[in-house]
């Protein structure tokens, strides 16, 4: 069991060594790097709910909003430190997750998707009407606290906790709920309990991600946490492969860099104007990606057990023999 811990320590040492040089990084690349870290936290967290427990949530950005606003508010109004603010944001989001999860997780698939979607929208509308935190004008945070070290430490801890959780008895519980809820109940497993645990944990990490985001961008706005943001996170999980943490990390990296690449492509004069218009709208490509993936590779882009993985393993076996 100490292998994940070794990896964690190695990774933390690596980012600690890199962190002092963060000012030397071009601000554009720095922005992308931090966004990748935040997206990893969001994707790996949601994967716990969608991938391992098989519950579809369309309101993950709502929890991110709770975390972002809480951590920003305690910093701006109470002057609390960054780490404490992040913790408050995470715990607040977890509480929100509990409040939403307990009634709605008794529902199944399609209904849960609609209820979580509704919840995400309700959070956004509430924030828009809350004048204390700026309402629809948004909220500014005076100091940039989020750095390379903080973001990737949080990302590494998220991955670490999720990996440990999945390999524990809780993980077995999540998987049985996903694979066959009736059989799980027949075996005496409290399915609602496991669903709520997965949901609350994911909400906590989304809150942390929101806090990091708020303290990085220094300006948050309710519109930034709408339905499309939730879809972004879902696409990361689906592309990476449901229940495949390394895949989700790769997908988070890929889907953060991809829009930047597409932006360059959309400015390329040689392409016909219509095609450039389509490329400019990221959501057209994302939705097509979702449909095509579900039709051809529902297990995600980076899953094991695919054709190429099998060929690679066959090659390795041949090499060994």
């Amino acid at each position: 069991m100490n292998r994940p811990k070794t990896w964690l320590l190695l990774f933390v040492a690596l980012i600690a060594a890199c962190a002092p040089f963060q000012d030397a990084i071009n601000p554009y690349y720095f922005d992308i790097l931090i966004t990748i870290g935040i997206n990893i936290i969001l994707g790996v967290g949601l994967n716990l709910v969608t991938g391992y427990t098989g519950q579809f949530s369309l309101g993950h950005a709502g929890f991110m909003a709770v975390g972002a606003y809480l951590s920003a508010a305690v910093t701006v109004f109470l002057g609390w430190g960054f780490v404490v603010a992040l913790g408050v944001g995470g715990l607040g989001a977890a509480l929100a997750g509990l409040a939403v999860g307990v009634p709605s997780l008794r529902l199944k698939g399609d209904y849960l998707a609609i209820v979580t979607l509704g919840f995400g929208e309700i959070i956004r509308v509430l924030l828009q009407n809350m004048e204390v935190v700026g309402g629809s004008r948004g909220l500014s945070i005076p100091v940039r606290n989020t750095g390379l070290f903080g973001t990737y430490l949080a990302a590494a801890l998220t991955v670490y906790v999720v990996v440990l959780l999945v390999h524990s008895t809780y993980g077995r519980g999540f998987l049985t709920v996903r694979d066959d809820e009736i059989a799980a109940e027949a075996m005496g497993i409290n399915t609602t309990k496991y669903k709520v645990i997965a949901f609350v944990t994911a909400a906590f990490f989304a809150g942390i991600a929101g806090g990091l985001y708020a303290h990085f961008k220094q300006f948050i706005h309710p519109e930034g946490f709408g339905f499309l943001r939730s879809v972004d996170i879902v696409v990361i999980v689906i592309l990476g492969g449901m229940g495949n943490t390394p895949g989700v990390i790769l997908a988070a990296i890929l889907l953060t860099i991809l829009p930047e690449g597409l932006r360059a492509l959309a400015d390329w004069e040689l392409l016909p104007g219509g095609l450039r218009g389509i490329i400019k709208n990221r959501m057209i490509l994302y939705s097509l990606l979702l449909i095509v993936l579900m039709l051809t590779r529902p297990q995600g882009l980076f899953s094991s057990g695919g054709k190429w993985t099998q060929r690679w393993q066959a090659l390795k076996r041949r090499g060994r023999a």
């Binding site: 098989g54 509704g118 709208n281 057209i284 979702l290």
Partner: protein, 312 residues
Amino acid sequence: MTEFLQQLINGLSLGSIYALIALGYTMVYGVLKFINFAHGDVYMVGAFAGLYLAPWVWKVIPQGSDPSRFSWSTAGGALAVLLLSMAVCAMLGVVIERLVYRPLRERPRLTVLITAIGVSIFLENFGQYLFGADPQLFPEILPDRVIDGLGDLTVSVNQVVVFVVTLALLAALSFIVLKTKIGTAMRALSYNPVAASLMGINNDVVIAFTFGLGSALAAAAALLNAINYPAYSIDPLMGILPGIKAFVAAVLGGIGNLPGAVVGGLILGVLETLVVGYVSPMYRDAIAFAVLIAILLFKPNGLLGRAEKEKV
């Protein structure tokens, strides 16, 4: 009392539009046991089909010169726009089913759900690319006029038209479902798809037909909504909210149950209008979610639905 009656009339005309959309959800759920998330966006496509088709139709059937008087050619033109938009959406529904949902029929429900959301996001954003993101004013295909002699009540001609057309569509639908061969096949399929196909029913054809029928009703709802409200403007994201509300209406009536969808739609429409009129317009869109959460907690099978046991 007059005010209440007025709210009731407005609510019923809103509710009949929800009912038409809800029928599409419930029919597809009946044959495939899944919720077609893209249905609200088919409604949006119906509205845009009407917007672009109207000038073409007017070239063939010119509108009457005096909008304040009834003219057969105006009414005929409006009917033609309605039927053509319904045909466009029916084709769209069949194409979506053929390309996307049919290959997924035996897959886990989560896969189908994610795909349906993908189709929905695609229609919204491709619509923004194709039609532009800004709202566009819908042309007046049927000039409106208030009916005289009702005292304090204001009922417009078009509200009556909406009722009449909705009733006609419902009658046509129940004729198709109850009396025709394909309707019988639809009902057989919703009871038991395997047994239905053993009896020689071609499930693919029936499912495609169901999608076409539901999508045509969504287009009709879009056009009736445009007729109902003067200076109606449409945009590619307009389908999201009516889609969600109609889904709530379908769940309220009991999903999979056709009369239930109509009852649910009417109740939701009246409830929404009453809340806007007597409580606060701010809660207009929240009411649907409140109703949904209440039904799911207290009567998950809806008002007219039957409890379905999951077989292991």
